[in-house]
């Protein structure tokens, strides 16, 4: 299988990478680029742990995305949410509301939540349920995850901790 050079903008940084046609976007992020914040869970699209955001800010399962199809595109990963060393509001909300336990699914859960917030600043209960249906958190039962999303407004323009 012929490997090809592709360009990918991740968290605002443009990269040129050599990619095999069998590799997924997740493989490239974790392997070639060393951005291991995005985790590999089931790698079959069932757990949502690998979720990143596409250029439109929507949630995207990186494990089901063939890398070469994403040539020239831009994505945001968990490492790209901070601004000036300060956690994004949704990240702060997750810490404060206890929405994090083992932390393995957390990057994917946060990127799903961020995708939801990109579409709607204050999503309603039904939107939260729909938007978070694609990720599986084994520890929290999603209860505090939803609480964190509901209360994210508290952390917008809040002083950094």
């Amino acid at each position: 299988m012929q490997r090809q050079v592709m360009t990918l903008t991740v968290n605002g940084d443009r990269h040129e990478v050599l990619v095999s046609p069998r590799q997924t976007l997740l493989d490239v992020l974790r392997g070639q680029l060393g951005l291991t914040g995005t985790k590999e869970g089931c790698a079959t699209g069932t757990c949502g742990v690998c979720t990143v955001n596409n250029a439109e800010g929507e949630a995207l399962l990186s494990c089901l995305t063939p890398a070469l199809e994403w040539d020239g595109e831009a994505v945001t990963t968990i490492e790209g949410l901070e601004r000036d060393g300060r956690l994004a509001p949704i990240q702060q909300a997750f810490v404060e509301y206890g929405a994090v336990q083992c932390g393995f699914c957390t990057p994917g859960v946060i990127m799903s939540a961020q995708g939801l917030l990109n579409a709607s600043e204050q999503p309603g209960e039904e939107q939260i349920n729909d938007g978070m249906a694609g990720v599986l958190c084994r520890c929290t039962g999603h209860i505090k995850v939803k609480e964190a999303i509901r209360n994210v407004g508290r952390f917008r323009d809040a002083p950094a901790k």
Binding site: T36, G41, C139, V145
Partner: protein
């Protein structure tokens, strides 16, 4: 010194955010699969495609010749390397289940390793197989192990107290049967092992674990090493739920490949392979018998449990786990337990979240509700009448120094409006109550030790060294809270060194609900040691008696005179950077003084309210009221998280989770087809924390890590039982099973459960 309810505490009891929260939400937490060692190879395991077969021939020559392949191993490479007593790590002449490890390859990359597996030739001679309990116990069934001609492996038969007298004193004896299926834990972080055995004098094992010592001991034994020659590294762990208590075959295989290739080797499960690697819980059949007097006094309790052990008896501990639970909830005269392992041609079994107690409780607590029904009693009244109390000594010799079970029952009955609901809800709605008890730590043949160290640097920074793994439960935050309380500082200012058996002091780890209780006591002792050393130095510097000093806000001050004080850094500096050169370092350990069993027990009661859809059979859990006596609450935020997670996992097991197995093959090894609740399915949870102050717990704390799930499972099961009008004899209570129950109860079939179980194969 025993904790008292009126102790003045600054840190304990807060809603404390995780000390590692920043790393976890920002992608900084490093998990095993994120580690790349220089020269690292990727390993893959070749697994049996047969349920039961003789291996006639293995030819690995083509795989070995494939460019990029660095090592291939089979049974011949390690004929004496055993995983359990009768089970080689790589199968010898016989395979006994689909997925059994036969050979393995290490290659430069994963694709090459996968390609090499395809090139290994295996010739099987199929043998007759038995893949269910029923098949294995049938007369003339195929035999898995010559030593067990009837396929029955280890058994346990034990009576506590006098069950014969208990049954004799009973006015009525009720019997029920229950069955639970094979279930799997679907951990967030799939199983992974990165072994570096390139220096044969030291095996470095990077892997998520619930405790390093078991891994060190078993790997050392397998490879003929001393325990200290095995180093286990486990920085962050993506959940465990009883699934990471001891090493699995892939740990041994990774080490074997690494030794042969002379390079580090990583083996990581694929989504479907995970269902083999995990060693989940197997099909289990329970027979319950309870003797009661006509006025509702429970006299005798009996459970007879048959476990599908799979192809090997890997984990005999599962046999006795349910027996203790029978002892700890009600004040019976006697308890009888019979348990047996049955070999089948399926993957060897381990345990699921809640151990075997949760699965059993979903049947047992329905059975107790059935007993109440037969007596014409409200089950909540029956529970309350028989629940254990403080000071109770159970038939197995456990003594409950603190026990708030009755308060828990009263709380959930009150808060749920039970008296207005039980027996009065509209059709297709149900309400159920369940009880549970769990030990905080437990001593068996060996000790139950946790040790801890704490150092105070010259700049006053406190560093805690602990071997307790944090699989998500928040132990490290709890340990920092305990340390901060003793030393009069803030939890987030404390640094934690953990996750490396070469560095941290001995700690069995995070299982048997021993973290907060046992390691918490060790950390408390270590910090008290450091505190005493700081006090000695400060007493000299401030020229007051040490017992007149108090610790707070990172300072040591003379009580009643805040002016006269020193910061930690001043005290540490005085001792270290002086001719004395003393370095302040505290150490402590805790091991139960009892020769056997546990010192402290937590208790709980939950009420669940459910709705059953009469058309689809789907069950919706509307609300759960949970009341738990977990001793002193250390971190309220984490406790709520533990309760949420256990309600989630409990309802998941009762309503959804089931491995569909056909001819020994798991048909649904995926997180979509193996159903788990998603965000929209969770009920509201109402918490009540009954804070008994346990005399042995650190600041009076007990466990909260597994007790609640047992209770959740029993409450949800009892609620479905109440909604459909009869004991549901099988888990999970999926829509078709519920519909079948509704039909049977509508027909007036009286013995639904029994007829159903007998029809199963």
């Amino acid at each position: 010194m025993a904790a008292r309810p009126d102790d003045k505490l600054n840190v304990i009891g807060r809603r404390q955010r995780r000390i590692d929260g920043f790393d976890r939400v920002s992608g900084r937490s490093e998990f095993t699969d994120d580690i790349r060692l220089p020269g690292m190879l990727h390993g893959k395991i070749l697994r049996s495609t047969q349920t039961h077969a003789r291996i006639v021939r293995i030819d690995t020559s083509k795989a070995e010749e494939l460019p990029g392949v660095k090592a291939v191993v089979t049974h011949k490479d390690a004929p004496d390397l055993m995983f359990s007593e009768h089970q080689p790590v790589l199968a010898g002449d016989v395979v006994r289940y689909v997925g059994e490890e036969i050979a393995a390859v290490a290659a430069l990359d994963l694709l090459t390793a996968e390609e090499a597996l395809e090139l290994i030739e295996i010739e099987y001679e199929p043998l007759p197989s038995a893949t269910t309990l029923r098949q294995a116990l049938r007369e003339g069934a195929p035999v898995l192990h010559v030593r067990s001609p009837d396929n029955v492996g280890p058994t346990m038969e034990k009576d506590w107290g006098d069950p014969d007298r208990g049954f004799a004193e009973s006015d009525c004896v009720i019997e029920d049967e229950f069955r639970t299926p094979m279930q799997h834990n679907t951990l967030a972080e799939l199983h992974v092992a990165l072994a570096d055995f390139s220096n044969p004098d030291k095996l470095h094992m990077y892997t998520p674990t619930q405790g390093a010592p078991m891994y060190q001991m078993e790997l050392a034994k397998g490879f003929g090493l001393e325990t200290s020659q095995v180093r286990v590294v486990y920085r962050n762990i993506g959940g465990a739920f009883t699934g990471r208590g001891r090493p699995k075959p892939h740990h041994f295989v990774a080490a074997l490949l690494s030794r042969k290739a002379g390079k580090p080797v990583k083996i990581k499960a694929t989504a479907d392979e995970e269902f083999i690697m995990f060693r989940a819980s197997g099909e289990t059949v329970y027979k319950f018998r309870t003797g009661v007097t006509s006025d509702g006094v429970i006299k005798a309790l009996e459970a007879d449990i048959t476990f599908d052990a799979g192809g090997h008896d890997e984990w005999a501990m599962i046999l006795w786990l349910p027996s203790v639970y029978l002892n700890w909830v009600y004040q019976a005269v006697g308890v009888r337990y019979r348990g047996r392992f049955v070999f089948t041609n399926t993957v060897p079994k381990g345990s699921h979240h809640g151990g075997i107690m949760g699965r059993m409780s979903a049947g047992w607590q329905q059975h107790i509700a059935h007993v109440a029904q037969e007596l014409g009693m409200d089950p909540a009244d029956l529970h309350l009448k028989n629940a254990v109390m403080p000071g109770h000594e159970s038939p197995d010799g456990s003594v409950f120094a603190s026990c708030g079970l009755r308060d828990c029952i009263k709380a959930v009955v009150d808060r749920s409006g039970w008296k207005h609901k039980y027996g009065k809800l509209p059709k297709y709605r149900g309400i159920g109550i369940g009880l549970g008890a769990q030990a905080s730590g437990s001593k068996a043949a060996d000790n139950d030790t946790s040790a801890a160290m704490v150092k105070i640097a010259a700049d006053g920074v406190v560093t805690l060294y602990t071997g307790i793994p944090d699989m998500g439960q928040g132990s490290h935050t709890v340990m920092c809270m305990i340390a901060a309380e003793v030393l009069g500082t803030e939890p987030e200012s404390i640094r934690v060194v953990q996750g490396d058996s070469d560095i941290t002091p001995f700690d069995w780890g995070a299982f048997s609900q021993r973290g907060t209780f046992t390691t918490g006591n060790a950390v408390k002792a270590a910090c008290e040691d450091a505190r005493q050393q700081l006090a000695e130095i400060a007493s000299r510097e401030l020229d007051v008696a040490a017992d007149r000093l108090e610790f707070g806000a990172g300072r040591v001050a003379v009580r009643g005179n805040a002016e006269q004080s020193m910061s930690f850094s001043e005290v540490a500096n005085k001792s270290l950077h002086s001719t004395e050169g003393r370095f302040v370092m505290g150490r402590g350990f805790f091991n139960s003084p009892k020769p056997f069993g546990a010192l402290a027990f937590s208790f709980g009661a939950q009420v669940a309210e459910v709705e059953v859809d009469p058309v689809t059979g789907a069950v919706t859990v509307d609300k759960v009221w949970a009341a738990h006596d977990i001793g002193r609450v250390i971190n309220r935020l984490a406790v709520e998280g533990q309760l949420d997670g256990q309600v989630f996992s409990g309802m998941s097991q009762v309503l959804y989770e089931e491995c569909k197995v056909e001819d020994g093959l798991i048909l649904n090894p995926s997180r979509l087809e193996y159903k788990l609740p998603r965000a929209y399915e969770l009920p509201e949870v109402d918490y009540t924390l009954v804070e008994t102050i346990d005399p042995y717990g650190p600041f009076g704390a007990k466990e909260v890590g597994e007790g609640p799930i047992v209770v959740s499972m029993s409450a949800v099961a009892a609620a479905v039982q109440n909604a459909v009008g009869a004991m549901v004899p099988e888990m999970p209570m999926t829509p078709w099973r519920v519909l079948r129950m509704l039909r049977a109860t509508a027909d007036g079939s009286t013995d639904v459960g029994k007829a159903w179980s007998e029809g199963l194969d």
